[in-house]
């Protein structure tokens, strides 16, 4: 799952990025509202983490601008402002959730998953299709009831495909979800991950649609 972190404090941004990566998220980090606008226009993010106390243009301004454009981008506000008035204002401005500093990174990860889930209209962390089940919270995957071990990238690709069974996802769109800025991406990286997934879950589970991309198999 790819996240956009908008945070001007260097140390905080670094520490949060490290923790979220450990949770299997791909995190792009910008330090100003202006950079966040550029990032939002170039890539698709499952959730945006927004600090309110940004220099120059504030997080509130960015938040209300995004909502004014009818952009449904899931947004979690992260801030040191704990006054009830600020929390209410943040939510009323269109934030999906609110996290006050300091916080536990596990809690933030759970909030990110919850917001991401709701944004695609799901209600549970459990995804199931055919013989395969996967849990977003524990990263457990089973096939025919037996546990399967996946790497973080494999998990991310599987999650993307299983979230919309039947939808075809292009290689570029999968790459976009998997890799943040600055990540080295080999040209055949997605193909390699798909190959490994088929080995673990069976050849028929993921189908290739020639010239377009990949989708979950229909008759399983």
């Amino acid at each position: 799952m790819r996240l956009l972190l908008v945070e001007d404090d260097r140390m905080f941004g670094e520490a949060l990025q490290q923790n979220l990566r450990l949770d299997g998220f791909t995190v792009d980090w910008v330090q100003t509202a202006e950079d966040a606008e550029v990032a939002l226009s170039t890539a698709e993010y499952a959730v945006m983490l927004l600090d309110l106390g940004l220099p120059a243009k504030s997080g509130f301004d960015l938040l209300s601008e995004i909502r004014a454009q009818n952009n449904p981008q899931p947004i979690i506000v992260i801030t040191a402002r704990d006054a009830r008035r600020d929390r209410i204002r943040g939510l009323d401005y269109g934030a999906d959730d609110y996290q006050v500093k300091p916080f536990d990174s596990d809690e933030l990860a759970a909030r990110i998953r919850a917001v991401a889930r709701r944004s695609v209209g799901r209600f549970s962390s459990l995804l199931a299709h055919g013989p395969v089940t996967m849990r977003h919270d524990t990263h457990e995957v089973t096939c025919h009831g037996k546990p399967v071990t996946l790497t973080a990238k494999e998990f991310a690709i599987l999650a993307a495909l299983m979230e919309k069974p039947g939808a075809i996802l292009s290689q570029a769109s999968l790459e976009d979800r998997l890799y943040g800025w600055g990540d080295e991406v080999a040209s055949n990286a997605v193909e390699v991950h798909i190959h490994n997934l088929r080995k673990k879950l069976g050849k028929e589970f993921i189908r290739t649609v020639r010239g377009i991309g990949y989708k979950i198999g229909d008759n399983l």
């Binding site: 520490a15 450990l22 300091p102 536990d104 990174s105």
Partner: protein, 450 residues
């Protein structure tokens, strides 16, 4: 405590009593003089009347006896023929024979008050003598004086009541102010309503409102400071929490070592923030406790440079010191905080290979401290705002507290100094010029002779 009402009551009563007494006395004295004339005339009239009356008639009570005025006059008539007293209207009044005319007579030396006024008239064969006790005259005088003073006393009573009532009415404003103040909570600093108060009370309430206003500003500043401080401490604490968590979750030894280093940095930053907050709080004017000591600006600058040498070396910054002797009077802690934060800031914002120069020069009535660096400088538009608490220049995230220059400003206020920010040499970097009032050299103790 003195009561305004009590004071007024006493003053008014004393004044009124004095007025009544004076009026009564002056009426009495004047009336007494006039009464003498009137009564003397009456004495003569009675005496003449007696000469014309038949002696038998005189045995009858005097016709005027029934009249109260006459009774008060207490006249007595004696008639002699030759040496024999033939008639006395009041036998209990043995006035001896006097010579012709008006006489004032004191029969009893021991009682000089008990005097008599006597008119003696020789007429052919008779001698008629009419007498009146002086006491009677005084009594009439006192009666008249009393009657003239009585309405005054009644008026004075009314006056006292009227004044006391109106004072109470006037003091209602004060009572309202008092109940206004006593009914409010300890934190309410709203001004007291000034409308409808007596003019004499308005200045007092006005002063109180000024004080409340002043206190309100101080409280607001304090609240803002605490809110800001709490807010600013959250981020360093959040960093530490995330770093600690990362260290706990990560199993990669190499990454753990790096995380450990970062955690130390996070803790250092949080403690720096706390230290700066405390420094700023100590410099608050409300904290008081300013010591006025004789200080050597060059020595203090030298010490700060010595302390910050390791930081400069760690950052690869060349730290230069050039001082002349300059004395000043002020709070040593404030001066140290001032110099330390200026030099510390300069070192932090100067890239490796740069130079930070500290100079001290006496200049007229001032002592000048200059800190010049080769860092990015501060744009002219930002040179006011950088002194605000927690204001950081956009684009700088050196992990500073955002308090350094706020501390500098508070210290300057305490030391009565001024500060000017300008571009450094060739328009690069930042030149900070601090101007402090200069003092004479510290009086060194004279060497003991002998």
């Amino acid at each position: 405590m003195k009561s305004i009402r009590g004071l007024l009551f006493t003053a008014l009563l004393t004044g009124l009593i004095a007025a009544v007494a004076l009026t009564g006395m002056s009426v009495y004295l004047r009336v007494l003089h006039e009464l003498d004339v009137v009564f003397d005339y009456q004495l003569k009239e009675v005496a003449y009347a007696a000469t014309m009356a038949h002696p038998d008639q005189l045995l009858l009570p005097l016709p005027s006896d029934s009249a109260s005025y006459e009774r008060e006059a207490r006249l007595a008539v004696q008639i002699w023929k030759g040496d024999q007293l033939v008639y006395a209207s009041n036998p209990k009044r043995p006035i001896p024979k006097q010579r012709q005319g008006l006489t004032t007579l004191y029969l009893d030396d021991r009682q000089p008050v008990m005097g008599w006024r006597v008119y003696t008239l020789y007429s052919k064969d008779k001698m008629i003598q009419v007498s009146q006790p002086l006491e009677a005259r005084r009594e009439v005088g006192i009666g008249m004086a009393w009657r003239s003073v009585r309405p005054l006393i009644v008026a004075a009573g009314f006056l006292v009541v009227l004044v006391l009532v109106s004072v109470s009415y006037g003091l209602r404003g004060l009572k309202r102010v008092a109940s206004d103040i006593s009914s409010r909570s300890a934190t309410s600093l709203d001004p007291i309503e000034e409308a409808g108060l007596p003019r004499e009370v308005v200045p007092l309430v006005h002063r109180i409102n000024d004080l409340l206003n002043h206190l309100g500003h101080a409280f607001d500043a304090q609240h803002r400071f605490i809110a800001d401080a709490a807010h600013e401490l959250r981020t360093p604490l959040a960093v530490i929490q995330l770093q600690a968590q990362f260290l706990e979750r990560n199993t990669d030894e190499k990454e753990r070592a790096e995380a450990h280093r970062q955690l130390k940095g996070g803790v250092r930053r949080a403690s720096h923030m706390v230290g700066q907050l405390l420094a700023l709080a100590r410099l608050e004017p409300e904290m008081g406790g300013s010591a006025d000591e004789h200080l050597s600006l060059d020595d203090e600058a030298g010490e700060v440079v010595f302390d910050l040498k390791p930081l400069a070396e760690a950052n690869g910054v060349n730290l230069a010191l050039d001082t002349d002797t300059a004395w000043m009077i002020g709070d040593p802690e404030a001066l140290r905080a001032l110099i330390y934060n200026l030099v510390d800031n300069a070192i932090r914002y100067t890239p490796a290979g740069g130079t930070v120069a500290v100079t001290v020069r006496p200049s007229g009535v001032n002592a000048l401290l200059q800190v010049t660096d080769t860092g990015p400088g501060i744009p002219p538009a930002e040179r006011e705002r950088v002194f605000e608490r927690f204001y950081r220049l956009p684009g700088t995230s050196a992990g500073g507290s955002g308090l350094g220059l706020a501390i500098v400003k508070s210290a300057l206020d305490k030391l009565n100094g001024t500060i000017a920010l300008s571009a450094g040499e060739h328009g690069n970097g930042l030149k900070v010029t601090v101007s402090l009032p200069r003092a004479g050299e510290e009086p060194t103790e004279a060497p003991e002779s002998g």
